[in-house]
Amino acid sequence: MLEFKSFAGNNYAWDDEVGLFIPFPPTIKAVLRELSDTNPPLKGEVIEKLSGAFKEEDIAFYYDWIQKWKRTMLQGGALPEDNSDVDLSVSNIKTHLLRHGLKQLTLSVTEDCNFKCKYCIYHGNYEYSNRANSRNYMNFAIAKKAIDYYFSLLEEGRRYNPIRKPNISFYGGEPLLNFDLIKKCVEYMDNAYNTFEKHYNLTTNGSILDDDKADWLIKNGFSIMVSLDGPEDEHDRNRVYRNGKGTFKDVMKNITKLNSRMNRKVTSISIFDCKCDLFKREEFFSRPEIPPLNFLNQVSDVPGCNYYDQFSEDDFLAFAEQIKKAKVHYLEDIHNQRQKGRKTSVLNHLFGLGSLRAVHEISPILPPSPLMPFTGACIPGMKLFVDVKGNYHVCERVNETNPLGNVDEGLDFMKIREFVLDYLRHMDGCSSCKFRRSCSKCYSYFMNGTGFLYSSEVCKGIETPMLDDFSMAFTIGEMDSSYVDNIADVKLLQDE
């Protein structure tokens, strides 16, 4: 049972075993303490023991209610004790992927980039990222093989999942540096696979997104995500050219034009660290000419990351203070913030929907997937990430030490099996974790240069941020329960 408080001081708890959030006033806590004994006392005995401190009717209520909520276990599935029931046969993996996976093909069309962003995972701040920025470009022969293999799997998978539609993303480096390849790939897919309803995505830094490229991307129905941290000083602090010069002006010149042409269908990805000014960003993203905010992420702090070494204790304290102030401002302004939605509000994105997502992504009642009993990791193959040389990897966030096949031989399902089993062997702290139903961590979080780190080590300190999110969500719920109840708001986060 994990306790947390709303800002108003009300006590709640998360029962991971059962999958319920419950109010947790002192009476229920006292009753639970009595019942935790190996030979739990009868109701009358509990009432007699606690009646000096609490009202009898409350003790009786909570005693009965505790018994009742334990009955949810009868309706749902208990959490597995260990990995022993996992049936990771190659055929199970393949069927699972044909039915549920293959959601996206990501082509890393180049490792080259005209920027040298200070937080980029390819710029030496991440010990376990084995990819450095290079001048390597994908060629069409590799791209074509990857495309053909993806569509062959989709074709094979149609009888398992006829609803899924191909989704192809172009990624880098800066993918527009290999624009000719992107064009060639799209032309090829539109000719060779014209019976499929395809969707194309591009993640770009926006600096070389000129009118010609924009015309072509719009014509081909691309969804475009531009990395844009905030106003000029916020953006240029980290997002710089190789010579150290800021990139903001060049990016803005292209994307404000694109934004007006695409009727705000181009969106922004903003990355923040502890030196950022949340209030400045709040104002910036509320401007109509700025592409709406799609993702707001903190600079990744996975094992092996030394990006944060540059900050002093004072920096962290100052940021904590800023977060505190911003939370208060957000809560005072909550009705306004809800109207603004997450796309034009950094604060709503960060505190509102961010915390609601933590609550709504919990798996209530149901047991986890039989193939992945611990954490939120996928079965590799849910997405296919292809590097410039034609190797398959889990996704763009996972380092490239363990390719899971290549475009010549296809996915190696045996390797996928070994990869998952090795991962599960390292999840040694999971069976006793109190966030099993809410864990969204996956491979990238546990990887080192050669394999996986043990979860018992990596997950130390996981409680604080999770409980902070729960606390914020329940504070919002006390003020406006419909906001938290409306799961549709959270669904939006995953739509794009």
Partner: protein
């Protein structure tokens, strides 16, 4: 002071009254208009005086309690936001009727051949007057594989008198073995012999169509389905011997419905568990996730809805029906009671049973409703 229902208790509001659904203990509490008003207010975190006798009653029932401050109650859910998202990318096919035969030598009064409106005709035996080339056994086996690949959970083997095509039925049952969670099979009681019963052991769970429960085959796993004539509506309970469970299949004549029929009265409301309640918020309580494949390969929303077809699988594969007609399929599957004329303002809409085939046949509208004697506007049963 505030009063909140527990996380497992949902308050659903109707036009005039509301109801509390306890999803752990599967109980429904129908509220008066005054009680509804009080719970509506308290569930919106409005303060209460603490002297309301009704709220103390609810506390004694362990449905909710008083709090000193505004309290947020995160209601119990079955699926999370990611799973909700995942549902969009899956077929979510849960049950398919396979009409592998259409021959029968009887002429039962309730048969689909005569176009009789029935409350559980889908689970009973029927033959149909339908043109087209019957599917070959090889195609039925192919469909079994296609259904398994589409992750269909249960199948129901049906069609005419299956004992007239027994070898074919057994061959298909053997082929389907182990590929689904449940396999049901519809048979008429009068066709069954001991050797048929022996053959079924371990292969399928039979649903036995009958007009006389006292002669019904009694065996564990066997479900009798009693066809009830309108003239027996009044003494229906005399037809059901003690200690015998049966599905009741009411034939409706000339649209005449008696208000005390179980399908009209509050007996139609089922005590909700967490899963059913959650599912009924997304899908129709009966045809949601269901398909029927007629003996000529037409794919229907249910065996009794012969006027709607999503396509034919005589030559093409079943998955192509989803590729071409997902929106049309979802028009039926996602027809929750929130979208049915009279039900949308009823507080029992997530725990009620509903036969779309029957209501459509009686009202002429897919969203019509006649089979219910509750008036949610008045909050009263007729």
């Amino acid at each position: 002071m505030y009063f909140r229902l527990n996380p497992e208790c949902y308050f659903i509001q109707g036009s005039k009254r509301g109801a509390i659904f306890d999803l752990i203990d599967s109980r429904i509490y129908a509220l008066s208009p005054e009680e509804t008003e009080l719970i509506e207010s308290s569930e919106k975190n409005q303060p209460v005086s603490g002297h309301e006798e009704f709220l103390h009653e609810l506390k004694k029932l362990r449905l909710g309690t008083f709090y000193d401050n505004r309290t947020y109650m995160y209601k119990v859910r079955v699926i999370n936001s990611s799973m909700e998202e995942e549902l969009k990318f899956q077929t979510n096919l849960s049950r398919t009727f396979l009409e592998i035969n259409n021959s029968c030598q009887r002429d039962c009064w309730f048969c689909g051949w005569h176009g009789v409106s029935r409350s559980m005709g889908c689970m009973g035996c029927n033959k149909w007057n339908e043109d087209g080339r019957p599917l070959e056994i090889g195609r039925w086996k192919g469909l079994v594989d296609e259904l398994r690949d589409l992750d269909c959970k249960d199948i129901v083997i049906t069609g005419g008198d299956l004992t007239l095509a027994w070898d074919k039925t057994m061959e298909i049952l053997d082929y389907a073995k182990g590929k689904f969670s449940k396999i049901h099979m519809v048979l008429h009681q009068d066709s069954l012999s001991k050797s048929h019963l022996d053959d079924l052991d371990g292969r399928a769970r039979p649903i036995i169509q009958t007009e006389n429960l006292s002669n019904a085959v009694a065996k564990e796993g066997f479900t009798p389905l009693l066809a009830v004539k309108p003239e027996h509506y009044g003494d229906i309970w005399n037809f059901i011997p003690e200690n015998k469970d049966a599905l009741l299949d009411f034939a409706i004549k000339d649209g005449q419905l008696s208000n005390d029929l179980p399908i009209m009265s509050n007996k139609k409301i089922k005590m909700p568990g967490i899963y059913q309640f959650s599912r009924h918020m997304r899908y129709h309580p009966c045809i949601g996730g269901t398909l029927a494949i007629s003996y000529t390969g037409n794919v229907l929303p249910c065996p009794m809805m012969r006027g709607h077809s999503f396509g034919n699988v005589g030559d093409g594969e079943l998955y192509t029906i989803f590729e071409k007609g997902l929106d049309e399929i979802n028009k039926f599957w996602k027809l929750t009671l929130d979208k049915i004329d009279k039900c949308r303002c009823c507080e029992f809409r997530y725990s009620c049973t509903d036969c779309r085939a029957l209501d459509e046949s009686l009202t002429g509208r897919l969203e019509g409703k006649k089979v219910c004697s509750y008036d949610p506007e008045e909050g009263a049963w007729a």
